[in-house]
């Protein structure tokens, strides 16, 4: 890092509230190193979040930050980006906040392809409210609200967001903090909606109930179950069943929303001028 990490932190708010070994701190570090690698101006970055453990992150960051209502981080971020298209707007949200409560905001932000970078801190559980299952809880796992094992299948968030129209989607893991940071840097540099799912760990409410006694065991699980896109292409669907694919999973070039908006405004202004 060119600058010490404390340069980007509100050090008077630290230490953070996350439990010991929580993956969110590792993911947050990866976000900050990505911002540092791009040498972004601290006063030109706006970080927006909703509600949940992950959404506490902006409170510790020395940027302009906004802590909004549950699931609505992307709605607020869209407003900010429309008013100040020059800002680097980054949304940090948990899997419950983003995929359940804010699920519609997510797919529509991707459909509009607005230049916002969204990082999903996916710990597969609602940690702040003591471990209810989320749309990202894997089948069969134990949660407070699924004491005999979860029935549903989780979303493939990257596929969902890419199908909705995002310019870039990718997945990383806390265990692979270095590659995750580089992926986030690429997402921030993308002109359009960019989405990164960061697989994180909740040792307190997910790990302990699912035979992983601490953060180290959960990081081991990430190490054993993450496969790169290249390695995944050589595996059969059966071999891939309990794995998750990491890396840059989809890119496309599409017109960006605020630029389209500006061109509409310019065209409307011209038409008005001609009518006067």
């Amino acid at each position: 890092m060119a600058k010490p990490i404390t340069y980007y932190l509100r050090t008077d708010k630290m230490p953070h509230i996350w439990c010991e070994g929580c993956g969110h701190g590792i993911v947050l570090g990866a976000v900050l190193r990505a911002i540092d690698s791009l040498d972004l101006d601290k006063d030109n970055v706006c970080v927006v979040s909703g509600i949940g453990c992950a959404s506490r992150a902006p409170g510790y960051l020395d940027f302009d930050t906004l802590h909004t209502t549950h699931g609505r981080a992307l709605a607020f971020a869209t407003g900010i980006k429309m008013m100040k298209p020059g800002l680097d707007v980054i949304v940090l949200a948990g899997d419950g906040d983003l995929a359940a409560i804010g699920g519609n905001h997510l797919i529509h932000a991707a459909r509009r392809n607005i230049n916002i970078t969204t990082i999903c801190f996916n710990n597969s559980i609602y940690g702040m409210t003591s471990g209810q299952y989320s749309p990202m809880t894997p089948t069969g796992k134990i949660a407070t609200t699924a004491p005999y094992g979860h029935i549903e299948e989780p979303f493939d968030l990257c596929e969902l967001v890419f199908a909705a129209g995002a310019s870039l989607v990718g997945r990383g893991a806390a265990y692979h903090s270095g590659p995750l940071s580089r992926l986030i840097a690429k997402a921030i540099a993308t002109d359009g909606f960019a989405f990164v799912e960061a697989v994180s760990q909740c040792p307190t409410y997910f790990g302990r109930r699912n035979k992983m006694k601490n953060a180290l065991a959960m990081l081991d699980w990430q190490k054993e179950h993450a496969v790169t896109k290249k390695a995944a292409s050589r595996l059969s669907p059966e071999e891939l069943a309990d794995k998750f694919v990491i890396g840059e999973l989809g890119t496309r070039t599409r017109p960006e929303y605020t630029k389209r908006y500006e061109s509409i405004i310019a065209a409307a202004a011209k038409e008005t001028d001609e009518n006067v």
């Binding site: 010490p4 404390t6 050090t11 439990c19 010991e20 590792i26 990866a30 601290k42 953060a215 180290l216």
Partner: protein, 94 residues
């Protein structure tokens, strides 16, 4: 926007490769476990500390894996790098 939350600046001596902010460290053992050179240790119920500084290669794995953002690895060429941190928290416990 906050201008500076730093209440103190600690001058880092040459040769101190890893700085652990023990006010931020929650003792999760991730740094101790991930260090490829076994530089770090943690006493039972305590905070992580540098035990074998001479073995450190400054690879930075402890810094990027620390969930508490409490570790900074000082680059080898920085003889007197200024590290800013919270009051009294910048230097690892001796």
């Amino acid at each position: 926007m906050q201008k500076s939350g730093n209440t103190c600046r600690a001058m880092v001596e040459n040769g101190r490769p890893v700085i652990i902010n023990d006010k931020w460290c929650k003792g999760c053992d991730i740094c101790v476990s991930f260090c490829p050179k076994n530089v770090l240790e943690r006493p039972e119920g305590g905070k992580a500390r540098v035990a074998r500084a001479e073995d450190c290669t400054r690879c930075g794995i402890c810094e990027i894996m620390c969930p508490d953002l409490a570790i900074q690895v000082v680059p080898a060429n920085d003889k007197k790098k200024e590290i800013s941190g919270t009051q009294g928290g910048s230097v690892d416990a001796k």
